[in-house]
Protein backbone atom coordinates (compact mmCIF):
# COMPACT_ATOMS: atom_id res chain seq x y z
CA UNK A 1 0.00 0.00 0.00
CA UNK A 2 1.45 3.35 -1.02
CA UNK A 3 0.08 6.85 -0.71
CA UNK A 4 0.13 7.33 -4.47
CA UNK A 5 -1.76 4.13 -5.22
CA UNK A 6 -4.39 4.77 -2.55
CA UNK A 7 -4.82 8.36 -3.70
CA UNK A 8 -5.57 7.12 -7.21
CA UNK A 9 -7.94 4.61 -5.69
CA UNK A 10 -9.80 7.37 -3.83
CA UNK A 11 -10.07 9.32 -7.08
CA UNK A 12 -11.37 6.25 -8.90
CA UNK A 13 -13.94 5.50 -6.21
CA UNK A 14 -15.18 9.10 -6.31
CA UNK A 15 -15.46 8.80 -10.10
CA UNK A 16 -17.59 5.65 -9.71
CA UNK A 17 -19.75 7.54 -7.20
CA UNK A 18 -20.15 10.36 -9.70
CA UNK A 19 -21.17 7.92 -12.46
CA UNK A 20 -23.69 6.43 -10.02
CA UNK A 21 -25.16 9.86 -9.25
CA UNK A 22 -25.34 10.77 -12.95
CA UNK A 23 -27.02 7.45 -13.75
CA UNK A 24 -29.54 8.02 -10.95
CA UNK A 25 -30.27 11.55 -12.18
CA UNK A 26 -30.79 10.21 -15.71
CA UNK A 27 -33.25 7.75 -14.15
CA UNK A 28 -31.52 4.59 -15.42
CA UNK A 29 -30.87 1.31 -13.62
CA UNK A 30 -27.36 -0.09 -13.25
CA UNK A 31 -25.84 -0.83 -16.68
CA UNK A 32 -22.67 -2.56 -17.90
CA UNK A 33 -20.60 0.60 -17.41
CA UNK A 34 -21.32 0.79 -13.69
CA UNK A 35 -20.91 -2.97 -13.34
CA UNK A 36 -17.49 -2.86 -15.02
CA UNK A 37 -16.48 0.18 -12.96
CA UNK A 38 -17.37 -1.60 -9.72
CA UNK A 39 -15.51 -4.74 -10.82
CA UNK A 40 -12.43 -2.66 -11.59
CA UNK A 41 -12.74 -0.90 -8.24
CA UNK A 42 -12.94 -4.25 -6.45
CA UNK A 43 -9.79 -5.52 -8.17
CA UNK A 44 -7.96 -2.31 -7.25
CA UNK A 45 -9.15 -2.68 -3.63
CA UNK A 46 -7.95 -6.29 -3.47
CA UNK A 47 -4.52 -5.21 -4.73
CA UNK A 48 -4.44 -2.50 -2.07
CA UNK A 49 -5.41 -5.00 0.61
CA UNK A 50 -2.67 -7.35 -0.58
CA UNK A 51 -0.05 -4.62 -0.38
CA UNK A 52 -1.32 -3.53 3.04
CA UNK A 53 -1.35 -7.01 4.56
CA UNK A 54 2.13 -7.70 3.19
CA UNK A 55 3.49 -4.84 5.32
CA UNK A 56 1.00 -4.86 8.20
CA UNK A 57 3.86 -4.62 10.71
CA UNK A 58 4.21 -0.85 10.32
CA UNK A 59 0.59 -0.16 11.26
CA UNK A 60 -0.10 0.87 14.87
CA UNK A 61 -3.88 0.49 15.07
CA UNK A 62 -4.07 -2.96 13.56
CA UNK A 63 -7.65 -3.79 14.56
CA UNK A 64 -9.14 -0.61 13.10
CA UNK A 65 -6.96 -0.88 10.01
CA UNK A 66 -7.97 -4.44 9.22
CA UNK A 67 -11.60 -3.57 9.88
CA UNK A 68 -11.50 -0.78 7.31
CA UNK A 69 -9.60 -2.99 4.89
CA UNK A 70 -12.20 -5.74 5.13
CA UNK A 71 -14.98 -3.17 4.80
CA UNK A 72 -13.62 -1.76 1.55
CA UNK A 73 -13.42 -5.25 0.03
CA UNK A 74 -16.96 -6.25 1.01
CA UNK A 75 -18.72 -3.06 -0.13
CA UNK A 76 -18.44 -3.22 -3.99
CA UNK A 77 -19.90 -6.77 -4.29
CA UNK A 78 -22.73 -5.73 -1.97
CA UNK A 79 -23.36 -2.70 -4.17
CA UNK A 80 -23.49 -4.87 -7.30
CA UNK A 81 -25.93 -7.24 -5.65
CA UNK A 82 -28.09 -4.29 -4.66
CA UNK A 83 -27.85 -2.64 -8.07
CA UNK A 84 -29.18 -5.81 -9.64
CA UNK A 85 -32.01 -6.16 -7.12
CA UNK A 86 -33.27 -2.59 -7.46
CA UNK A 87 -33.84 -1.98 -11.16
CA UNK A 88 -34.69 1.70 -10.78
CA UNK A 89 -32.65 4.86 -10.47
CA UNK A 90 -32.17 4.04 -6.79
CA UNK A 91 -29.89 1.10 -7.59
CA UNK A 92 -27.21 3.47 -8.91
CA UNK A 93 -28.07 5.68 -5.92
CA UNK A 94 -26.98 2.89 -3.58
CA UNK A 95 -23.88 2.32 -5.72
CA UNK A 96 -22.99 6.02 -5.41
CA UNK A 97 -23.25 5.75 -1.62
CA UNK A 98 -21.14 2.60 -1.64
CA UNK A 99 -18.40 4.07 -3.85
CA UNK A 100 -18.28 7.24 -1.75
CA UNK A 101 -17.97 5.09 1.37
CA UNK A 102 -15.05 3.22 -0.21
CA UNK A 103 -13.37 6.56 -0.95
CA UNK A 104 -13.80 7.75 2.66
CA UNK A 105 -12.64 4.44 4.11
CA UNK A 106 -9.58 4.39 1.85
CA UNK A 107 -8.82 7.91 3.07
CA UNK A 108 -8.97 6.70 6.68
CA UNK A 109 -6.79 3.70 5.78
CA UNK A 110 -4.23 6.07 4.33
CA UNK A 111 -4.26 8.20 7.50
CA UNK A 112 -3.69 5.16 9.71
CA UNK A 113 -1.05 3.81 7.33
CA UNK A 114 0.93 7.04 7.41
CA UNK A 115 0.35 7.49 11.13
CA UNK A 116 -1.35 10.85 10.61
CA UNK A 117 -4.55 9.98 12.46
CA UNK A 118 -6.01 13.25 13.76
Amino acid sequence: MTSAYSSWLIGGALLVALVGVVTAIRDRPMGPVLLAALALLEVALLVQAGMAVAAIGRVEEKATFIGYLAGTIVIPPAAVWWGRAERTRWGPGVIAVAAFTVAVMTGRLLQIWNGTTP
Binding site: A63, T64, E86, V97
Partner: protein, 137 residues
Protein backbone atom coordinates in the same frame (compact mmCIF):
# COMPACT_ATOMS: atom_id res chain seq x y z
CA UNK B 1 -51.39 -14.68 -0.18
CA UNK B 2 -50.92 -11.93 2.32
CA UNK B 3 -51.49 -8.33 1.39
CA UNK B 4 -48.29 -7.06 2.91
CA UNK B 5 -49.33 -7.21 6.54
CA UNK B 6 -47.06 -6.20 9.39
CA UNK B 7 -45.30 -9.57 9.37
CA UNK B 8 -44.18 -9.08 5.78
CA UNK B 9 -43.30 -5.44 6.27
CA UNK B 10 -44.14 -2.39 4.26
CA UNK B 11 -42.59 -2.73 0.81
CA UNK B 12 -42.99 1.01 0.17
CA UNK B 13 -40.60 1.72 3.05
CA UNK B 14 -37.78 -0.48 1.78
CA UNK B 15 -37.87 0.00 -1.99
CA UNK B 16 -36.77 2.93 -4.14
CA UNK B 17 -35.12 5.73 -2.14
CA UNK B 18 -35.61 3.55 0.94
CA UNK B 19 -32.81 1.35 -0.36
CA UNK B 20 -30.40 4.25 -0.32
CA UNK B 21 -31.41 4.93 3.29
CA UNK B 22 -30.80 1.27 4.16
CA UNK B 23 -27.38 1.46 2.51
CA UNK B 24 -26.36 4.60 4.39
CA UNK B 25 -27.64 3.22 7.69
CA UNK B 26 -25.84 -0.04 6.98
CA UNK B 27 -22.57 1.83 6.55
CA UNK B 28 -23.14 3.71 9.79
CA UNK B 29 -24.11 0.54 11.63
CA UNK B 30 -20.85 -1.04 10.46
CA UNK B 31 -18.73 2.03 11.22
CA UNK B 32 -20.26 2.68 14.64
CA UNK B 33 -20.13 -0.97 15.67
CA UNK B 34 -16.49 -1.44 14.74
CA UNK B 35 -15.50 1.88 16.30
CA UNK B 36 -17.31 1.10 19.54
CA UNK B 37 -15.93 -2.43 19.52
CA UNK B 38 -12.35 -1.25 19.18
CA UNK B 39 -12.82 1.51 21.78
CA UNK B 40 -14.37 -0.79 24.37
CA UNK B 41 -11.95 -3.64 23.72
CA UNK B 42 -8.76 -1.59 23.85
CA UNK B 43 -9.30 1.47 26.08
CA UNK B 44 -12.62 1.26 27.84
CA UNK B 45 -11.30 2.73 31.11
CA UNK B 46 -10.28 6.01 29.45
CA UNK B 47 -13.82 7.22 28.79
CA UNK B 48 -16.48 4.67 29.75
CA UNK B 49 -19.40 7.08 29.20
CA UNK B 50 -18.36 8.06 25.68
CA UNK B 51 -17.66 4.48 24.70
CA UNK B 52 -20.93 3.18 26.09
CA UNK B 53 -22.69 5.91 24.08
CA UNK B 54 -20.75 4.78 21.02
CA UNK B 55 -22.02 1.27 21.60
CA UNK B 56 -25.57 2.53 22.13
CA UNK B 57 -25.40 4.52 18.89
CA UNK B 58 -24.16 1.41 17.11
CA UNK B 59 -27.12 -0.60 18.38
CA UNK B 60 -29.54 2.10 17.23
CA UNK B 61 -27.98 2.08 13.76
CA UNK B 62 -28.16 -1.71 13.55
CA UNK B 63 -31.83 -1.70 14.60
CA UNK B 64 -32.59 1.00 12.05
CA UNK B 65 -30.81 -0.79 9.23
CA UNK B 66 -32.73 -4.00 9.93
CA UNK B 67 -36.07 -2.24 10.48
CA UNK B 68 -35.75 -0.29 7.21
CA UNK B 69 -34.54 -3.33 5.27
CA UNK B 70 -37.47 -5.39 6.56
CA UNK B 71 -39.94 -2.56 6.18
CA UNK B 72 -40.87 -2.46 9.88
CA UNK B 73 -42.23 1.06 9.95
CA UNK B 74 -43.01 1.39 13.63
CA UNK B 75 -39.64 0.11 14.83
CA UNK B 76 -37.90 2.34 12.30
CA UNK B 77 -39.89 5.39 13.45
CA UNK B 78 -39.04 4.83 17.12
CA UNK B 79 -35.37 4.17 16.32
CA UNK B 80 -35.19 7.30 14.15
CA UNK B 81 -36.65 9.38 16.99
CA UNK B 82 -34.13 7.89 19.45
CA UNK B 83 -31.34 8.58 16.97
CA UNK B 84 -32.37 12.21 16.55
CA UNK B 85 -32.69 12.67 20.31
CA UNK B 86 -29.33 10.95 20.81
CA UNK B 87 -27.42 13.12 18.36
CA UNK B 88 -29.00 16.29 19.76
CA UNK B 89 -28.41 15.38 23.42
CA UNK B 90 -24.90 13.97 22.96
CA UNK B 91 -24.01 16.77 20.56
CA UNK B 92 -25.08 19.42 23.07
CA UNK B 93 -23.42 17.67 26.02
CA UNK B 94 -20.15 17.21 24.14
CA UNK B 95 -20.05 20.93 23.45
CA UNK B 96 -21.13 21.92 26.97
CA UNK B 97 -18.81 19.52 28.80
CA UNK B 98 -15.93 18.44 26.54
CA UNK B 99 -14.16 16.84 29.51
CA UNK B 100 -16.81 14.13 29.67
CA UNK B 101 -16.20 13.31 26.01
CA UNK B 102 -12.42 13.28 25.61
CA UNK B 103 -12.75 10.82 22.74
CA UNK B 104 -15.12 11.29 19.88
CA UNK B 105 -18.27 9.25 19.45
CA UNK B 106 -20.39 9.14 16.32
CA UNK B 107 -22.73 11.71 17.86
CA UNK B 108 -20.14 14.07 19.39
CA UNK B 109 -20.48 17.68 18.28
CA UNK B 110 -23.58 16.77 16.29
CA UNK B 111 -21.60 14.25 14.26
CA UNK B 112 -19.14 16.78 12.85
CA UNK B 113 -16.52 14.04 12.53
CA UNK B 114 -18.83 12.32 10.07
CA UNK B 115 -19.76 15.36 8.00
CA UNK B 116 -22.87 15.99 10.14
CA UNK B 117 -24.47 13.01 8.42
CA UNK B 118 -25.58 11.59 11.83
CA UNK B 119 -27.59 14.79 12.36
CA UNK B 120 -29.15 14.90 8.89
CA UNK B 121 -29.85 11.18 8.58
CA UNK B 122 -32.62 10.83 11.21
CA UNK B 123 -34.41 13.87 9.78
CA UNK B 124 -34.39 12.32 6.30
CA UNK B 125 -35.38 8.99 7.81
CA UNK B 126 -38.35 10.44 9.70
CA UNK B 127 -39.43 12.40 6.63
CA UNK B 128 -39.27 9.28 4.48
CA UNK B 129 -41.16 7.14 6.98
CA UNK B 130 -43.89 9.70 7.64
CA UNK B 131 -44.37 10.46 3.96
CA UNK B 132 -44.94 6.77 3.31
CA UNK B 133 -47.47 6.30 6.09
CA UNK B 134 -50.05 3.79 5.02
CA UNK B 135 -53.53 5.30 5.05
CA UNK B 136 -55.66 3.94 7.92
CA UNK B 137 -53.19 1.28 9.00
Amino acid sequence: MTDGGPARGDAAVRSGPGRVLVAVYGVFALAATSRAGVQIATKFAEAPLAYLLSAFAAVVYIVLTLALARGSRRVALVACAIELAGVLIVGTLSLADPAAFPHATVWSRYGSGYGFVPLVLPVIGLFWLIRHRKPAS
